[in-house]
């Protein structure tokens, strides 16, 4: 499970996270909602270890391991997966090559045997079929020339292959139509189980109709100001963030 205590963080010297306390028990899916500028993306980058995001206090433990002391690839090996809001393009790098390299790096770190090209392809095809994806995607460059929806689906495919313990979905729903949204939601829901936790970061409530969270937290001004069950999301949609702000 994920335990965050008193986490504060700065970007370019400006405090963004001002004391986050959050526990995501194993097997649960929690949603983080908040207005723009509340620190949602900052939280996801701090947890995944991106340069430029400086932790100034507090802690974050994943299954007892100190996440903040680890390099990004070490966190990946420990089971953290970040589905990016804006997945980058890697020209000339084949999608299949990239995925196999990443998968094998993580397997290596866990002391598992690596997959050869054939084994990997078999696994990849299985997962893609389950996600209704065309295996054309494997032959293309990573995200090169992908539409917004295709990029997000590629993120979900990666998640399905890498089997993380903690998935952080950073505004995965932005820019998606209903069909793409369903594919993303199906992908996440298919992973749900006792060994999988997720932090779904979203601005809008819509995604949460498909990925029904166990808990919802509202992030405002760098702090979690309210937590509740799934109905909290509906309340936000009806009343807007302003009402919560006033009450907080």
């Amino acid at each position: 499970m994920l335990e965050i205590k008193g986490l504060t963080a700065e970007v370019d010297g400006k405090p963004i996270l001002k004391g986050i306390d959050l526990v995501v028990p194993q097997g649960e899916v929690h949603a983080i909602m908040g207005p723009n500028g509340s620190g949602k993306s900052t939280l996801s980058y701090v947890l995944s270890g991106r340069d430029g995001y400086e932790v100034t206090g507090g802690s974050a433990l994943l299954h007892g391991q100190d996440l903040l002391a680890m390099e990004p690839e070490e966190r990946a090996a420990a089971g953290v997966f970040l589905a990016f809001q804006y997945p980058v393009e890697l020209p000339g790098v084949g999608n299949a090559t990239f995925l196999r390299t990443a998968l094998n790096a993580i397997r290596r770190a866990k002391g598992e045997s690596e997959l050869d090209a054939m084994q990997f392809l078999k696994l990849a095809r299985e997962r893609m079929k389950a996600l209704s994806m065309n295996d054309e995607m494997l032959k293309r460059g990573v995200n090169v020339g992908f539409s917004g929806g295709e990029k997000k689906r590629n993120e979900i495919l990666q998640m399905a292959l890498l089997q993380p313990k903690l998935a952080i979905l950073d505004e995965t729903d932005s820019g998606l139509d209903i069909d793409a949204l369903k594919i993303v939601a199906d992908g996440v829901n298919a992973m749900r189980g006792p060994n999988f936790s997720a932090l779904v970061i979203t601005h809008y409530q819509r995604l949460l109709d498909y990925i029904v969270p166990d808990r919802v937290h509202v992030l405002m001004g760098g702090r979690i100001v309210r937590s509740g069950g799934p109905e909290l999301a509906k309340e936000l949609e009806a009343q807007g963030y302003g009402a919560i702000q006033a009450a907080a």
Binding site: E89, F98, A109
Partner: protein, 498 residues
């Protein structure tokens, strides 16, 4: 930027251990007296027992060289070379031209083992005749001509190739066994007076590979030469001549290494290729000379003249190179497209890290009609490296319907290096089409983070992205080289990204 400081420190820590070919081989050597003069030229010719015509040829070149001025390209800086302060002949003491591998000094063979020459070649060199001819994984064998300092040490598969009429042997041997061929073509593509280093090479070259593929023959295996500079204070002046007669096909690989030294050593080679009607020559180089240490001390000066003449109609010459070593690289593999419908190609990856400088590119001369050239150049600069692409595409008045496509891409890692593009495009023919594009990019922070978040280490991420950047070039390399090249790219850039 803290990232950059960390990069510099990491590079300094890693560089000495990175160049794993930096060892020296302890072996008995024979040297000419130091310095360069007409006497030295005669000494070399005598040592090699050359016929009179070749000695005359050398002396003419030497006379021309003495009158020439060393060229100075503005983009490449190096302290003046003292041409008298080097040995122009250094050879392992053994019989010239071993009759069989048993006669090769075992210490020499151990060197090749240490160099990590692909295992198959090593097994072949270690010596059982027929070793590798039916390899377990059914890949084609490669014939290897091993050159240690200035002398060819062993050539494998000669007999097998001779059955097809293919001649693959050291040029010193070809001068004696096929003088008419050598005389006809030597200096026909790169004349002695062509440039300063070509003239020098013509005077003092000691060895190199000679290849002749007869009409209609497709060479059944890849031909390869492995150059190793070992002796101190020597220059390496090899001379290669490849002739593909009508309808023939050959693929040739060149690989090079040298030990780590404080001083700079000069490598001024000349490569001449001749392709007749419907013939194809594919020439691939993976160059990893010692690049100098992280402070920029030492390293090989790689000043090479490589030129291919597409003499015949529908002939084709492809140059593919991966340049990761040498302190200074100055080379422009070129194609003279004379035959109608002939094709010239140039695929290149050049890396400059630490204080390396590269001024490299190609020259495509379109003379005949409907000639075609393709240039894909990928330059990667890191550390304090300065990487310049310098190219010339010249379309003559008679090259009706000629086509050129050029793509030059530069990748910059860090803000202390430089990437430069200087293309000269000269078109005298209305019906020809020339297209040139150049772009500049970097490895973005978010690309690296994306890869690392997926579990790849920093090094692996850089390697993956760089290989992706170079993909179009790497896929032109013969398979054996492609794998080596990919690893080489990764090693050359170790520690370059903070």
């Amino acid at each position: 930027m803290p990232a950059v400081t960390e990069t510099i420190e990491t590079v300094q820590a890693v560089t000495d251990s990175t160049y794993k070919w930096g060892f020296e081989t302890d072996i008995e050597m024979e040297f000419a007296p130091k310095g360069l003069s007409e006497d030295i030229v005669r000494f070399i010719s005598a040592k090699k027992e050359e016929p009179a015509w070749l000695l005359e040829w050398r002396l003419r070149a030497f006379a021309a060289w003495q009158k020439m001025e060393e060229p100075r390209w503005p983009a490449v800086k190096y302290p003046p070379i003292d041409y008298q302060d080097a040995y122009y002949y250094a050879a392992p003491k053994q019989k010239v031209g071993p009759k069989s591998l048993d006669e090769v000094d075992p210490e020499l063979l151990r060197t090749y083992e240490k160099l990590g020459i692909p295992l198959r070649e090593q097994a072949i060199l270690a010596g059982v005749e027929g070793a590798g001819e039916t390899p377990a994984d059914s890949r084609m064998p490669i014939a290897v001509d091993a050159v240690f300092d200035s002398v060819s040490v062993a050539t494998t598969f000669k007999d097998r190739l001779e059955k097809d009429g293919i001649i693959f042997c050291p040029i010193s041997e070809a001068v004696k066994t096929h003088p008419e061929l050598v005389q006809k073509y030597l200096g026909s593509v790169v004349p002695q007076g062509d440039n300063f280093f070509a003239a020098l090479n013509s005077a003092v070259f000691t060895d190199g590979s000679f290849v002749y593929i007869p009409k209609g023959v497709r060479c059944p295996m890849e031909l390869s030469t492995y150059f190793r500079i070992n002796a101190k204070s020597t220059g390496q002046f090899e001379r290669t001549l490849i002739i593909a007669d009508a309808g023939s096909h050959v693929s040739y690989l060149e690989g090079c290494t040298a030990p780590m030294r404080d001083e700079n050593q000069l490598h001024a080679a000349v490569v001449e290729l001749v392709a007749m009607d419907d013939a194809t020559i594919k020439y691939s180089t993976v160059q990893n000379w010692y690049p100098g240490d992280a402070e920029g001390k030492g390293g090989i000066y790689n000043f090479v003249t490589k030129r291919g003449a597409c003499r015949g109609a529908r002939s084709k010459i492809s140059w593919t190179q991966v340049e990761t070593g040498s302190a200074i690289t100055w080379k422009y593999p070129s194609c003279i497209l004379q035959g109608e419908d002939s094709v010239g190609e140039f695929y290149s990856v050049a890396i400059t890290n630490n204080y390396q400088q590269a001024d490299t590119g190609t020259k495509m001369f379109h003379i005949g009609p409907r000639t075609k050239s393709t240039i894909i150049s990928k330059g990667i600069s890191a550390g304090h490296g300065q990487n310049t692409y310098r190219g010339l595409v010249r379309i003559g008045a008679k090259a009706t319907g000629a086509r050129n496509f050029t793509q030059c891409d530069s990748l910059l890692i860090g803000d202390l290096c430089g990437a430069h593009t200087v293309p000269y495009i000269e078109n005298r023919c209305m019906s020809a089409k020339v297209e040139h594009e150049a772009t500049t990019s970097r490895i973005a922070e978010d690309q690296l983070f994306y890869c690392r978040q997926r579990g790849l280490s920093q090094e692996d991420a850089v390697g993956l992205i760089v290989n992706g950047f170079c993909r179009e070039v790497l896929k032109e390399l013969p398979m054996e080289f492609a794998v080596e090249a990919q690893k080489l790219l990764q090693i050359s850039l170790e520690g370059s990204v903070g």
